[in-house]
């Protein structure tokens, strides 16, 4: 045999060994991960039908420490309280925007996740955090266990959170005229807003004390407060302000809000307000 032939045999042998040598290794067995679908309750199915499927919004009411601030003493909602709270949000927020902005409005621009918390988020300073929005993706709603559907004050406070946070989400999609806004009340913004009374803030041209944190909160508070109030209630707020400059400032801001909704989204803000009021009445009276 020529040397070259020997090499060929040797190489062949090596190739055969390469392909067969490790044949006795364990084959992967069945996955250890659990792919079972969790058992769905009636509530879960209702959420899927009304939130997840039409709007691609996930609702978390089952406690998971990764979705809440672990340094806070909070607790999950009572199961029976979840659906009433979600019905309020759907009726007053989702339905109002869908009716006025078009069926797809909220589908395109919406938070992807709601986290529901049963208890009050009381800060050690004594202020209460009503809601949180993280990066426009997740909105945390507190006090789910305490909403009385028949109480306009309760419903308004609860819906205030979502209206406020949703305005932020809209702003992140299309910015408002920040320069024009900043010129309306250049002074008056303060990080210690929580020690200021609402009436003082209104005299200075801010709809609430929280609006005084910065222009973005100011915009969200101005828009959400108008959406929360009927035309008459809002007029009463304005009528209660004695300072002419304060009143004019709030009206100037209102005009910027209205223009923003028209220019950026082609939405008639006052029609949206009226629809939200109609739906609020429907929630309270039913």
């Amino acid at each position: 045999m020529k040397l070259l032939k020997k090499y060929k045999l040797v190489v062949l042998g090596a190739v055969v060994l390469t392909f067969t040598g490790c044949a006795h290794e364990d084959q992967p067995t069945e996955s250890q991960l659990n792919f079972e679908q969790p058992v769905r309750t009636d509530l879960d199915n209702w959420i899927i039908t009304n939130y997840t499927n039409p709007y691609n919004i996930e609702v978390r009411y089952i406690w998971n420490q990764n979705t809440v601030d672990n340094t806070r003493y909070l607790f999950p909602p009572t199961v029976e309280k979840v659906k009433p709270a979600l019905e309020i949000v759907k009726k007053i927020w989702l339905d109002s925007y869908s009716t006025i902005g078009g069926a797809d409005f909220v589908k395109k621009i919406a938070p992807r996740e709601f986290v529901l918390v049963g208890g009050v988020n009381l800060n050690s300073t004594g202020t209460i955090t009503l809601g949180l929005a993280e990066g426009g993706q997740r909105i945390s709603l507190f006090q789910v266990d305490y909403i009385d559907k028949k109480s306009r004050a309760d419903v308004s406070e609860f819906i205030h959170t979502i209206q406020h946070e949703y305005v932020h989400i809209l702003n992140q999609t299309k910015p408002f005229d920040e320069q024009a806004w900043a010129k309306v009340t250049p002074s008056g913004y303060t990080s210690s807003w929580y020690v200021e009374s609402v009436s003082t803030s209104r005299e200075l041209g801010f709809i609430t004390s929280y609006a005084r944190l910065n222009i973005f909160e100011d915009f969200a508070e101005t828009a959400s407060m108008i959406l929360l109030s009927s035309k008459a209630e809002y007029a009463a707020i304005l009528a209660g302000i004695t300072s002419a400059t304060g009143k004019a400032a709030i009206q100037k801001k209102e005009a910027i809000v209205v223009q923003y909704y028209r220019d950026a989204f082609n939405v008639d803000f006052y029609a949206l307000r009226d629809e939200a009021q109609k739906n609020t009445d429907a929630v309270i009276n039913n």
């Binding site: 659990n34 420490q65 003493y73 009381l122």
Partner: protein
């Protein structure tokens, strides 16, 4: 060496490598037979099976922080499909409620009560027993990390504070007994007619020591301060409740003995923990303040005291914590008899006026004229009280009938303890409290 030889050796070397390449001996010792995922899943199943295994469920006496709070007894009955029945002696509602639980992977395998039930009452930021715990509730957790088993108990650690919490197998009797814890709760909390002050009395077999026991019934925690300035011992402890006793944690140590089980004695309305050799600790109630003051002396007549006036002003002092519930109850009862616009606005006590008079004056909102009750004053030097005695009213009996109950406390025959307080309410005026020696009546006033 020729190139051909190098090539030959190289081929042989590669061939040899092929033959030894698949040896299984990596020399690394296998710590576990299973993969981490397999082990986590096994651990999850172990915990869930364990929770479901006890016929009558599990009992946990949860001391969230034994340096400032007492313990709360919980009963759990875990059910298939992630449901759990639960009862608690957090308050007098000891009914069983249903909610959900999950075995979740946190920093280790843990049980989480995922929808609201009784255990979550300890984790409500808006319901706190002391000012220091504002925003923190009762410091409770409801996610418990699984650390294994010990003598049939499940050993957990709390998620936030990493404190040990044991689930002990519950019995049918535990479920029957839990509502009875409320009786002990009521016995130690008392109601508005219970004496205002608590004492802790320790007996080391030869001598007794008295302590002022300042107990926060909502926090279930108390602080005992020695009344004898030469005896420096003090105690801080919380209580968990059983149907017949209050169990202290940490233990009250008297002469080296750890006393924990304070058994309620109904005839004497006391809680007694008994050790050996005559050692005991007793919690008792008294209408007499543990520390008596001489503040009443400056109000006495006939010893040259200047005129003084003390005013309970409804608008500022009704909510004062130093008013007893019984005092507020009597004020409410008197007010309830008046027309809607009229309320008691002030109760003023005048001592040694320029006209040498002493009287109680009731003032009203809504245009109603004041009513005055003249009194004489005397001293009970032993009990350190000032005794107000009826000397006639400025109106006819029918006109002051509605004040009679309230007034009777101020003129009670055993007298009033007077205390100049160190705190202030709204104004810089000195606060004085007047406490009945024969009932749990205490009213707060400004020195005017």
């Amino acid at each position: 060496m020729k190139v051909k030889n190098i090539f030959s050796y190289l081929i042989v070397a590669i061939f040899a490598l092929q033959l030894v390449a698949c040896t299984n001996n990596t020399d690394a010792e296998q710590k576990f037979d299973q993969t981490p995922t397999e082990r986590t899943n096994a651990r999850k199943k172990e915990l869930n099976d364990l929770l479901l295994s006890s016929e009558h469920g599990w009992k946990a006496v949860y001391f969230t922080d034994s340096t400032q709070l007492g313990g709360f007894t919980h009963l759990f009955k875990f059910l298939p499909n992630g449901k759990v029945d639960m009862a608690s002696d957090f308050d007098t509602d000891t009914d069983v409620y249903n909610s959900q639980y999950e075995i979740q992977l946190g920093s280790t395998v843990s049980v989480v009560f995922t929808t609201a039930n009784r255990i979550h009452l300890l984790s409500d930021s808006n319901d706190y027993p002391t000012a220091a715990l504002r925003g923190k509730g009762f410091l409770g957790d409801f996610q418990f990390l699984y650390y294994g088993q010990d003598k049939g108990d499940i050993v957990f650690r709390t998620n936030r504070t990493v404190q040990e919490l044991r689930f002990v197998k519950a019995t049918a009797q535990d479920w029957i007994d839990l509502p009875k814890n409320a009786t002990t709760l009521d016995n130690i909390n008392g109601d508005m007619t219970s004496p205002l002050f608590r004492l802790l009395v320790t007996n080391d077999g030869t001598a007794t020591h008295n302590f002022d026991f300042d107990f926060n019934s909502y926090a279930r925690f108390g602080e005992a301060t020695s009344l004898d300035p030469t005896y420096s011992e003090s105690y801080l402890f919380g209580f968990a409740y059983t149907p017949t006793s209050a169990v202290a944690k940490p233990a009250v140590v008297v002469k080296g003995q750890k006393l924990t089980n304070f058994v309620y004695d109904s005839p004497t309305n006391t809680f007694v923990a008994t050790g050996t050799g005559g050692v005991s600790a007793t919690i008792k109630y008294t209408n007499a303040p543990p520390v008596l003051t001489n503040d009443y002396k400056s109000l006495l007549a006939g010893v040259g005291n200047p005129p003084t006036v003390f005013g309970y002003i409804s608008a500022n002092l009704y909510t004062a914590p130093s008013n007893s519930d019984y005092c507020k109850y009597l004020l409410d009862r008197a007010n309830a008899t008046l027309p809607a616009a009229q309320k008691i606005s002030r109760v003023q006590l005048y001592f040694n006026t320029a006209a040498n008079q002493n009287y109680i004056q009731y003032q009203f909102n809504g245009g109603k004229a004041s009513i005055t009750h003249l009194v004489t004053t005397s001293e009970d030097a032993v009990n350190k009280t000032i005794i107000l005695k009826d000397a006639g009213w400025t109106v006819v009996a029918s006109a002051y009938a509605f004040l009679k109950e309230l007034d009777a406390e101020l003129v009670n025959p055993k007298g009033l303890y007077v205390k100049k307080e160190t705190f202030r309410i709204t104004y810089s005026n000195t606060i004085y409290t007047f406490t009945s020696a024969s009932s749990p009546f205490r009213i707060t006033s400004y020195a005017l």
